[in-house]
């Protein structure tokens, strides 16, 4: 409670008696509220898992305004890689990918929403940094998207690599991490550039299209989205292969609930493993009689991996059947934006998506 609300209780005067009464009522009320802490059911040992099960629906914080990550379509259904992440957790925990309550959060209230328990998990294209993990009381479960600062140029310029950009003018949004990344990159590579700083997204796009700058720089996923909006002219633009900063995005959970942390991270691993073994939502029924022990463990035909997590043994089966593996999710969400798989591919195909063994 902010201190100014308490001050009247201490102020002397004829009204003092009333204020003392009011203050006592407020404090009493606060104490009554505080003593009614979170229900610590003996159930699974994870308060978040218990809460989700009791509620019957996963409360999942998303952005709600980022194409490819989480954005409602024309029918009001949330689409994107983050939205699918929420659905996969719901499929694993509740057995039904539809049991998700999407909570749109802003950059300002996203961490509070998680800290206060309003949401069970935050899947909101949030960059994993030391500062955030060390200071917020929250932790990142896994990386669901490897983003990074990139450059887009017009194909007609003949530029094919960021190293060709010496002396270029670059459109950039002021005050972003992109601005810092570009400054560092050009300094390290001993090149010169002229920044054109524009706040509004639409204005940046117009400036780049009209030729006011040679290159447009922001997160590579946003650049791909921009290229996509050019429709028939999309092929006139080139996303340069270099990513000059690391922006690993992933779901966050509260610290101190290790079982829930495990679930969130292994849901992602199950999807990666599914793609690795070629198990998808379309062909998963064909694997019910498989002899491959890895797939049998993954699908819960053999072993008790699901129960070890505190879930049903068919947890991964439900994820893969209802949501699909990492590749399917990618093809539904990011591929339509024209984004190359790149770092987000499987580890054995040149990407960074790697899952520890499920056994």
């Amino acid at each position: 409670m902010p201190p100014f609300l308490c001050r009247p209780a201490a102020s002397p005067g004829p009204a003092r008696g009333v204020f003392v009464l009011v203050a006592r009522a407020i404090i009493g009320c606060a104490l009554a509220l505080l003593s009614h802490g979170p229900a610590q059911a003996a159930g699974s040992g994870s308060p978040t898992l218990d809460a989700v099960r009791a509620r019957g629906v996963l409360s999942c914080g998303v952005a709600g305004n980022a194409a490819g990550f989480s954005l409602p379509d024309s029918q009001g259904v949330m689409q994107g890689i983050d939205a699918e992440g929420c659905r996969a957790i719901a499929a694993a925990v509740l057995g039904d990918q539809r049991k998700v309550k999407f909570v749109p959060t802003t950059t300002e209230n996203r961490f509070t929403a998680l800290q206060s328990g309003e949401i069970d998990v935050l899947v909101r294209e949030t960059t994993w940094t030391l500062g955030r993990e060390a200071s917020l009381g929250l932790e990142f479960g896994v990386i669901n998207f490897y983003d990074g600062t990139g450059f887009m140029v017009k194909k007609s310029s003949g530029v094919t690599s960021a190293h060709d950009l010496d002396g270029a003018t670059i459109c950039v949004e002021p005050g972003t991490s992109t601005e810092l990344a570009i400054a560092d990159y050009f300094r390290v590579n001993n090149m010169k550039y002229t920044p054109v700083e524009i706040q509004d997204l639409q204005e940046i796009h117009n400036a780049f299209l009209s030729g006011r700058c040679d290159a447009y720089s922001t997160d590579s996923s946003a650049l791909a989205g921009f290229r996509f909006t050019q429709g028939a002219h999309a092929d006139d633009f080139l996303l340069l292969p270099e990513l000059i900063s690391k922006e690993p995005l992933g779901p966050m959970v509260r610290k101190g609930d290790d079982k829930w942390f495990d679930i969130v991270r292994w849901v992602s691993f199950a999807q990666i493993t599914g793609e690795e073994y070629g198990v998808s939502s379309r062909n998963i029924e064909n694997f019910t009689n498989t002899t491959n022990p890895d797939i049998r463990r993954l699908l819960g035909i053999e072993g008790n991996l699901g129960e070890a997590l505190g879930l049903d043994n068919r947890w991964a089966f439900n994820i893969l059947k209802q949501v699909g593996n990492t590749g399917e999710v990618w093809n539904r969400t990011m591929a339509p934006l024209g984004l190359p798989r790149g770092l987000n591919g499987l580890w054995n195909r040149g990407g960074l998506m790697f899952a520890p063994p499920l056994r």
Binding site: P38, A39, A66, A67, T106, F226, T229, Q230, H233
Partner: protein
């Protein structure tokens, strides 16, 4: 006017004024011509089914793309409300419009109007939530679009107005220093901070004060912030009305032997409120538009759904069309309120002209 009578004045009247008129008319005509050329003649009204938005992109800059409204109007109006159930949200909007229209008509200005509003709100609650009469239950987090705007504004004002009257009376209660002091503190505290910070308080700080598991719905928190905010502003308007009343009215009421509440209800408030109808409605209208600020705390009101509708890459760049639609909707409601205010003034002020200030 006297200046115009000399020679130079005649010159100005004969030559300069017509020139200015001509110039301004031409400017206006040019603007109108360009607008209609954009909005009508070169506009793309529909896209062939299943096609992409290239047709619209080709017209970008010289023709409007009304196809974006056709594609997105259901999301803009209803947000995340389940697609198959959106007829219910449409009925809710119709209910609100009917209620406003009834309030506009003098025939319904009697106590039963309160009853009509009461039952109207019950019908609206049943339609929005469902869960009875075979309607599927739709939780608040799936509400969005115009119903949210209308609910926030209508309920906000419905609760803020009585609060404002009580606070205004309390501020003038000379004999009750504690209550008077509290009322002043409330008004000054709320007026002293921007609405945005109140919304942030409700959205970000309030959840931290409450223990885990105690979650007040985000919509309700925003609604509370609005009631508090509107209450403080309306209280000052009502206080102005009270202050404008001649002292004789209070003394006359007391002389008739009326109690404080009788005098307030029968003599003071009817006159005081009549004086400030334009200011009240001014506050109402400002407040109706202020509801669009909830976009910064992640509630999908009409403004937010409109902005989100053009974030999908395929439809990026057609925000002007959507903003025009939003402007038309906001104008419709605000203009209606202004008309209601005008009629109230005409009807209430006409027969009572003869109240005179005692010398």
């Amino acid at each position: 006017m006297r200046v115009l009578r000399d020679g130079r004045g005649d010159m100005a009247r004969r030559f300069v004024s017509p020139l200015i008129t001509l110039f301004l008319s031409l400017l206006l005509a040019l603007g109108a011509w360009r607008f209609f050329s954009w909005a009508l003649w070169h506009a793309v009204w529909t896209l062939p089914p299943g096609s992409n938005t290239d047709l619209c992109r080709a017209a970008l800059g010289h023709g409007a793309c009304w196809a974006v409204i056709g594609e997105k109007f259901r999301f803009i109006l209803f947000g995340f409300y389940p697609y198959a159930q959106q007829w219910r949200a449409a009925l809710v909007i119709l209910c609100f419009i009917t209620l406003f229209a009834l309030s506009l008509s003098q025939r319904f200005w009697r106590p039963s109007l309160a009853l009509i509003w009461g039952s109207g709100l019950v019908v609206i609650a049943i339609l929005m939530w469902g869960g009875v009469f075979g309607l599927a239950f739709v939780p608040e987090d799936q509400w969005g679009g115009l119903p949210i705007t209308l609910l926030l504004a209508t309920l906000g004002l419905a609760f803020a107005f009585p609060l404002a009257i009580l606070v205004a009376l309390a501020r003038r209660a000379e004999g009750l220093p504690v209550i008077r002091w509290l009322a002043i503190a409330y008004v000054e505290l709320i007026r002293g901070v921007p609405l945005i910070s109140l919304l942030f308080m409700a959205s970000v700080m309030l959840p931290l004060f409450l223990p885990n598991g105690w979650n007040i719905d985000k919509l309700l928190r925003a609604q509370l912030a609005f009631v508090l905010f509107a209450g403080a502003y309306l209280a000052e308007v009502v206080r102005a009305g009270l202050a404008a009343l001649p002292r004789g009215q209070y003394e006359g009421a007391a002389a008739l032997g009326l109690s404080y509440w009788q005098a307030t209800r029968l003599i003071i408030l009817p006159q005081a409120l009549r004086h400030v109808i334009p200011m009240l409605v001014n506050t109402f209208i400002g407040f109706f538009k202020d509801t669009s600020l909830v976009l910064i705390i992640g509630i999908f009101d009409l403004m937010t759904t409109g902005r989100t509708a053009t974030m999908e890459p395929a439809w990026q760049g057609f925000a002007n069309e959507v903003y025009l639609l939003l402007a038309a909707i906001y104008f419709g409601f605000c203009f209606t309120m202004a008309r209601i205010s005008r009629r109230l003034e005409q009807r209430l002020s006409a027969p009572h002209h003869s109240i005179e200030e005692p010398a």
